[in-house]
């Protein structure tokens, strides 16, 4: 399947969610840290669900990203429409990786500076995005497949 370089507003986007770093279990809420870029970069790594499957997304999170010693224990998947990224004036950069042709990065238009807070406006943008994300908790963490139904999200 050929994958277009531009991300359509109607595409569903997935980001892996890990505890405790990305999720507040008491309030059942995604933390702002879930959508923070690495230092000196402007890229939040996500997958395009229209060009992969929920099973693959889970497998990628568990096998490649999970790292309990780094506060990252796989917990579930966050899903949202690409339009929500465009709505906050952020964009996608087409960044396919080896074995990950469906990989893109969200770019907020700001490179985080070491030791300095992100600008308030950008932090508000990230919060707005999180408000439009639907979190799907993985109820069957030990299963090799995604068994929690359709990955729907707010339109």
């Amino acid at each position: 399947m050929s994958i277009p370089t531009s991300v359509a507003a109607t595409e569903k986007i997935v980001r892996g969610i890990f505890t405790p770093l990305y999720f507040d279990e008491k309030k059942s809420k995604i933390k702002a840290t879930a959508f923070r870029s690495p230092p000196e970069k402007d890229e939040v790594s996500v997958l395009r669900l229209d060009y992969t499957t929920a099973n693959f997304c889970k497998k990628h999170c568990v096998e490649k990203l999970q790292n309990p010693s780094s506060q990252k224990t796989y917990y579930g998947l966050a899903v949202f429409y690409a339009s929500k990224v465009y709505d906050i004036n952020a964009k996608f950069n087409y960044t396919p990786l080896e074995n990950l042709p469906m990989h893109v990065d969200i770019s907020f238009g700001y490179v985080a500076i070491k030791g300095e807070p992100l600008p308030v406006e950008l932090r508000i943008m990230i919060d707005e995005l999180i408000e439009n994300v639907k979190f799907h908790k993985d109820l069957y963490i030990n299963s090799e497949t995604w068994d929690c139904g359709e990955l729907d999200c707010p339109v």
């Binding site: 507040d24 933390k31 870029s37 230092p39 990252k72 807070p117 308030v120």
Partner: protein
């Protein structure tokens, strides 16, 4: 649960010895002393006989523990949390209304990949998000009607900015 303040300091001292961060401990200790003596207008000896609730201890210890994070602690090249940032955070904790410390959940104090600390207060339908760095901090407050207040950047030692932050936190309870 109420615990003696001495226990807070002993625990912090223990952590600092384990993590080669005695200087950070000394700075925090001095700051708490300073704050107690000058800001609370109480004699210094009373600090050692007072009690804190265990949430204060939990929060300070949780924050102090960020010294343990190594480079790449999130698996995505995250920066360490510099001792200055931890010290700045505890400095602010010691200057804001005690009531707002009681409702702060340690789970909402998080390190960020670029080496800052992000703190979020949630109270009823209100939220205040504070991010603290090496030299400065910023925050915004959100109510059900949207963003109600923000400060784009202030220096940690800016007393008037800390007073304004305290007012914004106090408004949660009014």
């Amino acid at each position: 649960m109420i615990i003696p303040v001495e226990q807070v300091f002993n625990d912090l001292k223990h952590y600092s010895q384990q993590n080669n961060s005695e200087e950070l401990y000394q700075n925090i200790f001095s700051d708490i002393q300073y704050n107690w003596y000058y800001k609370k207008d109480k004699p210094l000896h009373s600090m050692f006989t007072c009690t804190f609730d265990d949430n204060y201890q939990k929060i300070v210890t949780h924050t102090f523990n960020f010294v343990k994070l190594q480079n790449n602690w999130d698996g995505y090249d995250a920066e360490i949390i510099a001792q200055d940032v931890i010290q700045n955070t505890i400095k602010i904790f010691n200057r804001i209304p005690y009531q707002s410390m009681e409702i702060l959940d340690s789970e909402n104090i998080n390190p960020t990949p670029n080496g800052t600390i992000l703190i979020e207060w949630n109270f009823a339908e209100n939220m205040l998000s504070l991010e603290i760095g090496t030299n400065s901090a910023n925050y915004y407050k959100k109510t059900k009607d949207g963003i109600s207040f923000k400060n784009d950047s202030f220096k940690i030692d800016d007393e008037s900015a800390i007073n304004e932050l305290s007012c914004q936190l106090n408004s949660f309870f009014n």
